[in-house]
């Protein structure tokens, strides 16, 4: 990187806080944007849960608070579907993707690889300012006639392709597609920047096999995003043409809505499903892999030992990435496909558990003979590992064609993917926050409040999402507006109440996190440059890192990222010169 980045340029309010090209500020902007969107998405899920627990009750107060969603104190069925759709879409793309990949990714990549900034700072700013209108369009879609999109986060046609199909298929769906297009544009710009920066801007001595695993996971996730998102772009363009134009890419003949036969003919909704899941499945790994990256960082910093099996982790990561691109059909087992293809997708999906298990087991094995410092960050990572285990167990039944046919579209699926991509990713976001907050803001978070946050969050989410598995086995379908509508579900209604209380309590516990976060911004104790005695390069600069990241020369890497209790030293930072070869099998005694 050229030297002008390192000089402390005078910056106005606008170039520093708003149209910043500094990766740290952009990372924080993403983080706060995700936090803002998470407040909405969580509130929507609470409305859903309250309705599901007590479908016959009226809620006059909620009705007055959300006049568009309720009628006479009852959540309207069509608005229920809008809330489901928007909760899923916003959480996946506008909270977890933004916080975990764009937020932490932007903040940490240059700091961990010893660079002054991202490879393309201007593109980085452009990427952030593309996500802002996307968020506004998503939120704004609640206020158009017919309300927000209601076809689920997967936006399957015909609901998403025919404006007159249902109340949630109107203008809100169009805005949903446009917002997603902006999101994809932003995410692609970000991915391009990540890949280029990681390959080209590493500091001297930092070979690929010396990169922290966080960087590896972000690298792989970015490549997956670049490969997978264009399929959704193509699908979105065709969907818009089907919606607003006369084409029939996804619409078959003979659809009747409101007594009128549609003119469309010859298309197939299956085509959309293939294109959507070609993105949709890799997207799961775009979210889960950086979560594991954070877990590896936290386990080493607070376990005081090198990561177990660094090289096998990297290779497993690459195999997971390749396999994740060719298993999408398992989302469509019941959509209709050649049984031979179904069999292939089933086998490929089950085989992805092998490299993924290597990653997860390396994470667990990294606790072997560790000197655990049970900080909030490590606590959340331990819970994350448990969640990978529980969620992964359910995944086996969904990957297997025969059991999936029964479980498909049930609450078993809802419970499974919440454990895998909601709990795992959110716990990683919390762990990353507890780990990097000192570097981000130059202050320390309160540890006691952090632990309280942990203990009040974990039981709720585990009970809530594991409970959903049982609802699913009992036959409750996802997207179901009224569980009382079926007699065979009534004996499970108590479980819906338990789940609502469990998840509600976990949601309320987030107030502690937010209070700790904002209180410490102002009043937290000043953070030292390396408060955790960690080894990676971001801890070799003051907290918070200055403009240009290092006040003087860039650090040079002389060793791997996780040298804790190796060669007699408690920890050896990556930039410490040492001309004696570090041992290759550094399991501490």
């Amino acid at each position: 990187m050229s030297e002008h980045h390192s000089s402390h340029e005078r910056q106005s309010f606008w170039t520093h806080y708003v149209f910043s090209t500094d990766h740290k500020m952009i990372g924080k902007q993403y983080y706060f944007t995700a936090m803002f969107m998470a407040l909405f998405a969580t509130a929507w899920s609470l409305l859903l849960r309250i309705h599901l627990a007590w479908p016959d009750k009226t809620w006059p107060v909620l009705g007055r608070l959300f006049p568009g969603l309720f009628q006479e104190g009852v959540l309207l069925p069509e608005r229920y579907l809008s809330l489901v759709t928007m909760h899923g879409t916003v959480m996946i793309f506008f909270v977890v993707s933004i916080a975990l990949v764009s937020g932490f990714g932007n903040f940490i990549i240059p700091l961990q690889i010893g660079a002054r900034d991202m490879a393309y700072p201007f593109l980085n700013m452009l990427s952030y300012w593309t996500i802002v209108p996307a968020c506004l369009l998503m939120l704004g879609s609640f206020f158009v006639p017919d309300g927000a999109a209601g076809s689920g986060w997967t936006a399957y046609p015909p609901l998403s392709a025919v404006p007159e199909a249902a109340p949630g298929s109107g203008m809100g769906q169009t805005l949903w597609i446009l917002a997603m297009a902006l999101f994809i544009a932003s995410f692609t710009m970000g991915g391009l920047n990540f890949v280029t920066t990681i390959l080209n801007c590493r500091t001297r001595g930092l070979s690929m096999m010396r990169l922290p695993l966080m960087i590896w996971t972000l690298f792989v996730a970015s490549i997956l995003g670049i490969l997978a998102f264009p399929a959704l772009t193509a699908a979105a363009i065709m969907l818009l043409l089907d919606r607003l134009g006369p084409t029939s890419f996804f619409l078959p003949a003979g659809l009747v809505f409101g007594g009128t036969v549609l003119q469309h003919a010859g298309g197939t909704p299956l085509l959309f499903q293939h294109l959507f899941w070609f993105l949709g499945h890799p997207e799961v790994y775009v979210l889960v892999l950086p979560a594991l990256g954070i877990a590896f960082e936290v386990v080493t910093v607070f376990g005081r030992r090198p990561v177990f099996g660094y090289q096998t982790s990297v290779w497993a990561l690459l195999v997971v990435a390749v396999l994740s691109m060719i298993v999408w059909g398992h989302h469509m087992f019941v959509s209709g496909m050649n049984p031979a293809i179904g069999e292939y997708f089933s086998i490929a999906t089950v085989s992805i558990t092998a490299p993924f298990a290597i990653l997860a087991m390396n994470l667990v094995a990294s606790l072997w003979r560790a000197e655990l410092r049970l900080s909030p960050a490590l606590l959340f990572v331990l819970a994350l590992m448990a969640s990978v285990g529980i969620g992964g167990l359910g995944g086996v039944f969904l990957a297997t064609l025969t059991s999936d046919i029964y479980l498909h579209n049930s609450y078993f699926v809802v419970g499974h993917f919440h454990l895998m991509i909601a709990v795992v990713t959110f716990f990683a976001i919390f762990a990353g926050t507890y780990l990097w907050y000192p570097k981000m803001f130059g202050r320390q978070l309160n540890e006691t409040l952090g632990k309280l946050h942990f203990w009040l969050t974990v039981p709720g989410v585990i009970v809530g999402f594991v409970g959903m598995h049982f609802l699913g086995m009992g036959g409750e379908q996802r997207h179901l507006y009224d569980p009382n509508a079926y007699q065979f579900l009534q004996h499970l209604q108590w479980l819906n109440v338990v789940i609502t209380f469990a998840l509600g309590s976990a949601a309320v516990a987030q107030i502690i996190f937010l209070a700790n976060f904002f209180w410490s911004l102002r009043f937290g104790p000043q953070a030292a440059p390396n408060p955790w005695e960690a080894t990676t390069l971001e801890w070799t600069t003051p907290s918070p890192a200055p403009h240009g990241n290092w006040p003087g020369e860039l650090p040079v890497a002389y060793r791997g990222p996780y040298e804790y209790r190796v060669g007699g030293a408690a920890f050896t930072p990556q930039n410490k010169p040492d001309f004696v070869a570090p041992s290759r099998a550094p399991v501490p005694a």
């Binding site: 391009l192 280029t196 264009p230 399929a231 890419f249 010859g266 040079v556 570090p582």
Partner: protein
């Protein structure tokens, strides 16, 4: 541990990797469209349209623009900045002519009674020519940037940026040949 390895500098210019990721994105987009077309054409309503002869003229113009830009790259390599500017301008003007030609092609299709609604093949013709033209317009933007930089004499030492824009241009040209062949053959 060898010190030489420890202080090896892995830094290169950011362009080739950045370029590669852009090309991969474009390739994946048109692969998705291709897959969609292959799946959609199995339906019984697939009736291929006939191209207006203008499409051959447009294809020739796009190929010519690639040749002109290759000249620009060659001139940059031997440091003849004046010549770089001329060839970039010629390439960009040919690119604009291609986009105008594709719009004229749509008009010719419409005059021949072929519209977006005429059938799935016609819809793919409009969809793919349109999406492709957007990528050409992006390339013209890139060429304008390269022109401005060449005017300041920016490509005398290293012509990575110019090279990237031109490789992108060739790539979009190849995409057009692919789309044209696909839509003609099926």
């Amino acid at each position: 541990m060898s010190t030489a390895r420890a202080i090896r500098a892995p830094q290169h210019g950011p362009y080739p990797i950045g370029l590669l990721t852009v090309l991969v994105t474009v390739a994946m987009l048109f692969s998705a469209f291709t897959a969609a077309l292959l799946l959609r054409r199995t339906a019984s309503d697939w009736i291929p349209i006939t191209w207006p002869p203008l499409v051959w003229v447009n294809t020739a113009i796009l190929l010519a623009s690639s040749v002109a830009l290759e000249q620009a790259r060659r001139a940059a390599r031997i440091g003849r900045n004046e010549s770089v500017l001329n060839w970039i301008s010629i390439g960009a003007v040919l690119g604009l002519a291609f986009v105008a030609g594709q719009l004229a092609l749509w008009r010719a299709l419409g005059n021949g009674g072929v519209f977006l609604a005429s059938g799935p093949h016609a819809a793919f013709v409009y969809l793919l020519t349109g999406t492709h033209a957007v990528h050409v317009v992006g390339g013209i933007g890139g060429l304008s940037w390269a022109f401005a930089r060449a005017q300041r004499g920016g490509f005398s030492a290293s012509h990575d940026g110019l090279s990237s824009v031109i490789v992108y241009w060739h790539f979009v040209g190849i995409v057009w040949l692919w789309l044209f062949a696909l839509l003609s053959a099926l």
